[in-house]
């Protein structure tokens, strides 16, 4: 195709443009409403309050720990999932379905499930209680709840990277004298790194925004388990200004994470 013809690619038609504009409006206008109604004058005072700072600190800590846990457990799981193409149909589909479930389950249901497993009377929880380990109402429970809902995002992102990266590069590396460890370090990891980065960002922001599973399994106590979303929801009852301030904070942190990791480590995810 001559260069001039390539440049003249057909623009989207009117129907597509209108629907796309509506879709964009749906996504952008609520945020705009939030920004327009925010009590900007009050913001410094609101953001400096103990409850807000506690919630912010707790959210950042737990989301980071959840992302770490998701990397440690999720990358091997993604490797397994990528390998499962060699399995027979039923186990392969089962594995994929099981990993998908936390993404589609209503978070509160996930929280209840965690409670039934790890609560004081839970299937595993009762044994843990016997050795003196109780999980509900602890910060650890928050990390578990967040990891439960957020890890699948990382698993699928890394699996996608593993599948699309040309793994035959590993064969080339071997033919050039690279040992298995060298292949992993010099070829596989760099090829998959962008996918891991993208997965980690998705995982972090999902963990940051997690509400239903956390409040059901871990409860809600300032400084221990009351993360930003939970604090915001509670504040809606009595103090909408604080609720808005908390919401803005969540928005700002998520945007900061996305922007800080753009391009340098995630070419193609966020330009």
């Amino acid at each position: 195709m001559p260069a001039s013809a390539r440049r003249r690619t057909r623009r989207p038609g009117p129907v597509v443009t209108i629907l796309a504009a509506l879709g964009l409006a749906l996504l952008v206008l609520p945020l705009l409403g939030l920004l327009l109604r925010a009590p900007w004058g009050e913001l410094p005072r609101l953001l400096a309050s103990t409850e807000v700072l506690q919630a912010l600190g707790l959210s950042l800590l737990t989301a980071s720990l959840s992302t770490l846990a998701s990397l440690v457990l999720g990358i091997p799981l993604a490797v397994l999932l990528a390998h499962s193409v060699a399995w027979s149909v039923v186990p392969r589909r089962l594995l994929r379905a099981v990993i998908t479930i936390p993404m589609v389950l209503p978070p509160v249901v996930g929280g209840i499930a965690l409670l039934l497993l790890l609560g004081r009377r839970g299937v595993l929880g009762q044994w843990l209680a016997e050795v003196g380990v109780t999980l509900p109402f602890t910060t650890g429970a928050v990390v578990i709840a967040q990891t439960f809902v957020a890890m699948p995002f990382l698993v699928f992102a890394v699996e996608g990277a593993l599948r699309s990266a040309d793994r035959r590069s590993e064969l080339a590396a071997a033919s050039l004298g690279a040992s298995r460890a060298q292949v992993f370090r010099l070829v596989t990891l760099p090829l998959v790194a962008p996918g891991i980065g993208a997965g980690a960002v998705l995982c972090f922001t999902r963990a940051l925004g997690e509400f239903g599973a956390t409040i059901t399994f871990a409860g809600s106590f300032p400084g221990v388990t009351r993360t930003l979303p939970i604090a915001s929801y509670l504040a809606m009852n009595s103090d909408p200004d604080t609720a808005i301030a908390l919401a803005l904070l969540l928005l700002a942190v998520s945007l900061a994470v996305l922007l800080a990791l753009r391009d340098r480590w995630l070419p193609g995810v966020v330009r």
Partner: protein
């Protein structure tokens, strides 16, 4: 002066691939045959990337039990398989890095190869920004930079535009002649037989004829050989 003696069997679904070949140092053998006859399988077995039974002797030493990274077989893949995340220079420097050189030393070791294959100007480009002919030169430079004892090329012309094949083939023939050790070129194209001193024909996993192109043309052992040499 080394001798490569291949005696490998690779079981496959439809038939076993049985390769019994010898290639002396400094000589090139073209392994030809119809698609699906097992040519790439033979290459994979020689390189250690495909499981096989039998022996693979180089100067009497059996490589068959060694993993791919220890065999010293330089392989130029049909799809070239350049590392997309590395520049041309780093691709060619890869074998040195693998042998333990630090990044700077490996890059210095790659420079002579870049010069020899006229890749200096392309040194900082990434494989995605190369033409077919350029990428092939990089793949060959990289394979030779690993200082292999044996050189194997899998369908070297297929990734190239038809117009440039003759020119590239001439350069490749020169490079193969310059290589000390035994060389095997796999192809289904009779024009590539000109890269080698001898031709072996593989059909349905068996060597059915071996000789110079002229010998094959004069007395084709099978209908395929007759069509091939026409």
């Amino acid at each position: 002066m080394s001798l490569l003696e291949i005696d490998l069997v690779v079981p496959r679904d439809a038939f076993d691939v049985v390769a019994r070949l010898e290639v002396p140092s400094g000589r090139a053998l073209a392994l030809v045959g119809p698609n699906g006859s097992g040519k790439s399988t033979v290459l994979g077995a020689i390189a250690g990337l495909v499981a096989a039974t039998g022996t693979l002797r180089l100067d009497g030493r059996d490589l068959a039990g060694l993993p791919a990274e220890s065999r010293g077989i330089g392989l130029v893949f049909q799809d070239l398989l350049l590392f997309p995340h590395l520049s041309v220079r780093d691709n060619v420097a890869f074998p040195a890095r693998v042998r333990g050189s630090a990044r700077a030393a490996a890059r210095a070791a790659a420079d002579p190869w870049l010069d020899r294959f006229d890749l200096r100007d392309l040194a900082d480009r990434h494989p995605g920004a190369l033409s077919g002919g350029q990428a092939q030169r990089v793949a060959l430079a990289r394979a030779l930079a690993s200082q292999p004892a044996v050189l194997v090329l899998d369908e070297p012309m297929t990734s190239l535009d038809v117009e440039i094949r003759d020119e590239v083939r001439a350069d490749l023939a020169r490079d193969i002649r310059a290589f000390d050790g035994p060389t095997i070129v796999v192809s289904h194209d009779v024009a590539d037989a000109a890269l080698a001193d001898e031709v072996a024909v593989l059909e349905r996993g068996r060597i059915v004829q071996r000789g110079t192109l002229a010998q094959l043309a004069a007395a084709p052992a099978t209908p395929w050989v007759r069509r091939f040499t026409r």
